[in-house]
Symmetry: C2
Subunit: 409 residues, 2 copies
């Protein structure tokens, strides 16, 4: 995307390249609109399902295993390759695979609705990012206007942005997530265009953005500084625990129970019991209830974050679809809320820091969580997010929920 | 710096690595303090010199050629290699050279004072960054605690941060400037530690931070959006013009006039005449007068930015020391101020955007200008800086004032 004035001596060539760049920007806008529409469609129905489930939780959770059966059946029948989900997106982004089949979209949307209807604990960004990447990779194959990697980055940004309506965070998430340490500056402008259009489109279609008005401030005494460092370390460790825990749990159960139907049925039973036992649905679904409680002064228990973490790992290891990000937000916020009150710091402020930092630590990203923090809680808090997310980033190690993520040496 | 839990099975090895990381963080703090002190010493005297020069401009500017002679003499006598300045820093950062000699510090400090005393148009960050890199590279050779590249990044951050007291921008400037597209995450925490300590130390030593309280807001109509895009494009082109102009002017005069004494004398005469003719010293020195005028509603002429650009290029091409960044800030601010009033947008706001974007375009950095904008004008404006700097970044092409900068493909 960057215009290199020195290389382009030939006028014809220059005009051709500039034309391609303009077309790519226009396509990025169109991708943003389409993905924003799909995100809004998927996201609004998902929120409706969540409300319905919360109202009938004891009637629905016992049937989680049935939902698991349907999920596995759908994927095995219509697209086994699609089961890899984000792994497939990363593979195409790294030019290891060629395409994402279109059927992935209905599969992932439908099976995520099932997950949430029946009380599994999972996210939703996996769906949004996969929708975005599927569409942009189709555009790449039709037009050959940019590399596969560049188009995947554009699609991921659109998907993330439409769902969360945090366009700057979405742009940097997509720019940095494929290879940690590298930013895909070649598509900086198309990524920003697609992020803003997707966000705006989803907003127009009535998908609400989650924001919190923080009013806390911190006085930077050495005491407060040390406490913030401790929080950063804990957020990093919890993010890493989630990523490593998910990885090991997935491979553990895949090895122990070879048949995916039996695996998802067995785990579903355990999850159903946990979800009913612990707070009757408190740890079902996205975890927006915990996020809401963290920022409205409602009760957050010291074990909320840990139970949400375990049940989300079990849900995803079982084979349910959805994603990890919203549960990560809720794990971070509820952990931060508790840490804040233990340490005598404003608990909403620490919850906000945890919201961003645990997400960053589990995805091994850095600029995305800083900007998510700024876009959800206000840009004036950005320096806090910068500091705490940096510490969390280092202490999370190279753990990542994305097995196919690369790291630049 | 990143802790990789998977690789470190051996407990002894793990403790050793963690020890090294802790020592590196402590050293980064010490580097920050030392560089902050030196920055404050250099910077405060420089500001005193600027005030003195402005009061006696007609008495001093005729002697610019003498200052040039002394500069060349000092470098040729005491350290010809040091003449490369930032080029040397980049070479060590890319492991192409081994060390930066200590004598570089007194040489660059003294010769920059001479430049500014006698009215040359140049910056000051070159000095600060070279001080930082010289000290950190000495620490690297003594301790071997991190790679040469990592230590150079730490030193550059400390130097930049102490001078401008914009620690986040300084950290990202250092993390991204050596290789565009790559972030040196391996030293994220030491870089942040050194930036904040350098900034705080310089502040304690009485070096003032430049900040502006903006009160403008923009309503995002399509009309305003298009105008902002045009501004971004122009900032990018002006930044690129500066970088390319400096490069060509340097090589042009180096080829035409082989003897550096004759070169600096000839160009000094031209510069002296220009500086007296055009506004009697208006374009001498750092350009903080133009920055001040842009943000206090004083007169800014439509040609201010262009004259400042030309005279700065001539000063640096002649062989004077100092740097480019503060003149870039002043070129950007005065251009933005004019664009704002032409386009009917709040001119201080556009001046702020120009301040950041022209600097980013000429140095080929992206995160640094966005954060400079946020740290000087307020974090709530960060989204504006993000958008305009992105456009400027793309339109500036691969131009950079740092000839030895690399770009990640």
């Amino acid at each position: 995307m960057k215009i290199n004035y020195l290389v382009l001596h030939n006028k014809k060539e220059r005009i051709l390249i500039i034309k391609r760049k303009i077309v790519l920007c226009l396509l990025a806008g169109l991708i943003g609109i389409s993905v924003g529409l799909l995100d809004a469609f998927f996201g609004r129905i998902l929120l409706g399902i969540t409300v319905f489930r919360d109202a009938h939780v004891l009637w629905l959770i016992p049937f989680l295993a049935v939902g698991g059966f349907i999920t596995i059946f759908l994927y095995q029948k219509f697209g086994a390759e699609c089961m890899q989900g984000m792994g497939l997106v990363f593979s195409v982004g790294h030019h290891e695979k060629e395409k994402i089949p279109f059927r992935l979209i209905p599969l992932v949307v439908l099976s995520t609705w099932i997950t949430h209807l029946l009380g599994g604990s999972a996210g939703r960004e996996g769906v949004a990012v996969q929708i975005g990447a599927t569409i942009s990779s189709a555009v790449e194959r039709k037009t050959k206007i940019a590399s596969r990697r560049e188009m995947i980055v554009i699609g991921m940004a659109a998907g993330f942005s439409g769902l969360f309506q945090t366009p700057a965070a979405a742009a940097f998430f997509a720019l940095e997530v494929l290879t940690i340490g590298k930013l895909e500056y070649s598509v900086l402008i198309p990524v920003m265009i697609t992020s803003y259009t997707a966000s705006y489109t989803a907003h127009l279609c009535g998908l609400e953005k989650f924001t919190v008005v923080l009013q806390d401030t911190l006085n930077f005494t050495p005491n407060v500084l040390i406490k913030l460092i401790v929080c950063g370390i804990l957020f990093g460790l919890v993010g890493a625990t989630f990523a490593q825990g998910l990885k090991y749990t997935k491979s553990f159960f895949s090895e122990k129970i070879k048949n995916p139907y039996i695996k998802i049925a067995t785990l579903s039973c355990i999850i159903s019991i946990y979800i009913v036992l612990f707070g009757i649905g408190r740890y079902a679904g996205l975890g927006t209830n915990l996020i809401g409680a963290s920022f409205t002064g409602q009760t957050i228990y010291g074990w909320d974050w840990a139970l949400k973490l375990v049940i989300t790992i079990l849900t995803l290891a079982a084979g349910f679809q959805g994603g990890e990000v919203t549960p990560l937000f809720s794990i971070g916020a509820s952990l931060g809320c508790v840490l804040g009150s233990i340490m005598g710091l404003p608990s909403m402020m620490i919850a906000a820091l945890g919201y961003a930092a645990v997400f960053g630590s589990a995805t091994n990203t850095f600029l995305a969580p800083v900007l998510i923090g700024a876009e959800v809680f206000g840009f004036s808090y950005l320096p806090y997010f910068l500091g705490v997310c940096a510490i969390a980033h280092v202490f999370s190690g190279n753990a990542s929920i994305y097995g196919k993520q690369k790291t630049l040496e």
